[in-house]
Symmetry: C2
Subunit: 333 residues, 2 copies
């Protein structure tokens, strides 16, 4: 019971992470008040490098020393990881149930040396550094035969969060996350019926239609999807089909950084620095790679507390039609 591990629900086949240690972490308890750490106690601030693990990836000034100040972005191991990097995958049964140990990687991407940096004020070059760090880590992690998927998750301003210093999570897991599996079913079935990528088709319609477009820079488009679960939900998609985020060329990474900057600035202007989540959806890796997948990011400002209808039935009630959301965000400049 002590170690973090994965269990599969025998009805829906969904894996969950049972992570007993996290009960003691304040952010795991929604009812707790946030107790954000100031710069003096922040392990992510320059000068506090010894309080985290060693740098797994870093972009730093050429004359600076490893694990010392002088860096621009920095990736370290999470101190309270959801997945553990050491050991072999061990699958087990408990009667009719399936479980496995939570082998994987859980890394923290520190996105700026400045304690109070906010994505809405970061320059596009810094966002590009973050995306590059993310790509580098994915390139490395996908070589590990134990992992089937690598994901990047950025949460900002969520209630209960202790670390206000801009950071995000890179997670490599021994399973394909369930939402990615669901999307893959859609990609495969569209491919089978139409011999085209469903997200390429969506993009074509959105660009022509225009009502749900929020921001476009070169090869990257941000738009409100036709059937968004959440108010102001936005998808950020490369126009050219690609299943693999790690293959993104520098010019496209720059476009992506500009789209993200434009989107987050607009959101901040219209909604007033709301909490937000940003998640990179990419193909599974290694022998599970699926070229029909089209990588993209999903952005949700102010993710709501879900009540029975949403978590119990999967029916989301969205009070803001995406055409209206896009119009408002487009106008917020």
């Amino acid at each position: 019971m002590g170690e973090s591990h994965l269990r599969k629900d025998p009805v829906t086949q969904r894996w969950v992470v049972i992570s007993p240690g996290r009960a003691e972490l304040p952010q795991a308890v929604a009812a707790d008040q946030p107790r954000p750490l100031g710069a003096e106690a922040c392990p992510f601030c320059p000068g506090h490098e010894a309080e985290t693990g060693a740098e797994i990836h870093v972009q730093r000034d050429p004359d600076s020393a490893p694990n010392r100040p002088g860096w621009h972005v920095r990736v370290v191991a999470d101190r309270h990881p959801i997945y553990h990097i050491e050991g072999g995958l061990e699958r087990s049964a408990e009667g009719m149930y399936d479980a496995m140990n939570a082998i994987g990687a859980h890394e923290i991407l520190v996105e700026s040396p400045e304690h109070t940096a906010n994505w809405a004020s970061l320059d596009a070059g810094q966002i590009e550094r973050v995306l590059r760090a993310c790509r580098e880590r994915m390139l490395d992690l996908r070589n590990d035969q134990r992992f089937r998927h690598v994901i990047w998750v950025k949460n900002h301003g969520m209630p209960g969060s202790v670390f206000h210093h801009a950071h995000s999570h890179i997670l490599a897991s021994p399973i394909v996350p369930w939402a990615i599996e669901e999307e893959l079913k859609g990609f495969s079935s569209h491919l089978r019926w139409k011999e085209r990528c469903v997200l390429c088709d969506i993009l074509k319609q959105e660009v022509t239609d225009g009502r749900r477009l929020v921001v476009r820079e070169g090869g990257v488009v941000g738009f409100a999807p036709f059937a968004p679960r959440f108010a102001y939900e936005t998808w950020i998609v490369p126009v050219e089909h690609s299943h693999d985020f790690t293959g993104t060329r520098p010019a496209l990474l720059r476009d992506l950084a500009r789209v993200l900057q434009g989107l987050i600035r607009r959101t901040q202007r219209f909604l007033g620095d709301p909490p937000f989540s940003l998640v990179l959806h990419a193909s599974p890796v290694g022998e599970y790679t699926r070229e029909e997948y089209h990588w993209h990011l999903e952005f949700v400002p102010r993710p709501p507390q879900l009540a029975g209808l949403e978590w119990g039935t999967g029916i989301h009630i969205n009070p803001v039609p995406p055409e209206l959301a896009a119009e408002r965000l487009r106008g917020a400049v």
Copy 2:
């Protein structure tokens, strides 16, 4: 854009409800402070019957008049419905996208005449009346050829809620909710492989094992599932296989009321009157009825605000192993 309607995501095939009017309702905006109505302004209190629609179902004292005080439980139409009862189903296309008007039923079950009644203090007889009202409404609604599914959802103490008077929602929808579809896939596949019901199998293992059992009364068992998404998530299941909640015999309804009372009292004792959601999962109706389904209730206290990892990937991190959750709830008497 004005009317509530349903839209389907072309990748995942999930339907969402776009409900523009709800933007103006305080409960739709998570950031708003709750402004609960006192008894004097509460439309669900006796003496205020004229402020709701007419009774669709009622259990009242024999000598009392319809739509007047003297009732024990009362079902009325929701004033701000997610689904609209009038009109025919109209499906439409918008390029590659699918939509339909939000035809359905949305009713409010007022669970007690007392403004401050709390499920933890309701007697089992009153809970039984609530369940009976729910069964009666489902029996009626499933005759409507436009509906494919009927669900009962109870939320208690959710932040932002205006109506503190104990009530729940009955929703009939022209689609099978996505979470029920997912479960059905599991029921079908287990049936195909093992020629047994997966939830019957689970129950057998849980009753024998005992570590995850929380409360049992006659023919109904409450237990923490092996792979719970949420801390203290509990499933309440009839031991005898049945796909159809409306067929529940009075004795079993009594057992169910006692299990719910026992569970909610324990939760209150251990977690201190937390918000909770309770959702009835039953087979689709009419020609979509599936006898392999096993109806049950899912209970989640303190449903958390979901961050990127959960909504973005479907991976839930649960800090409390179900064996520990069950032990704590069992002990809270």
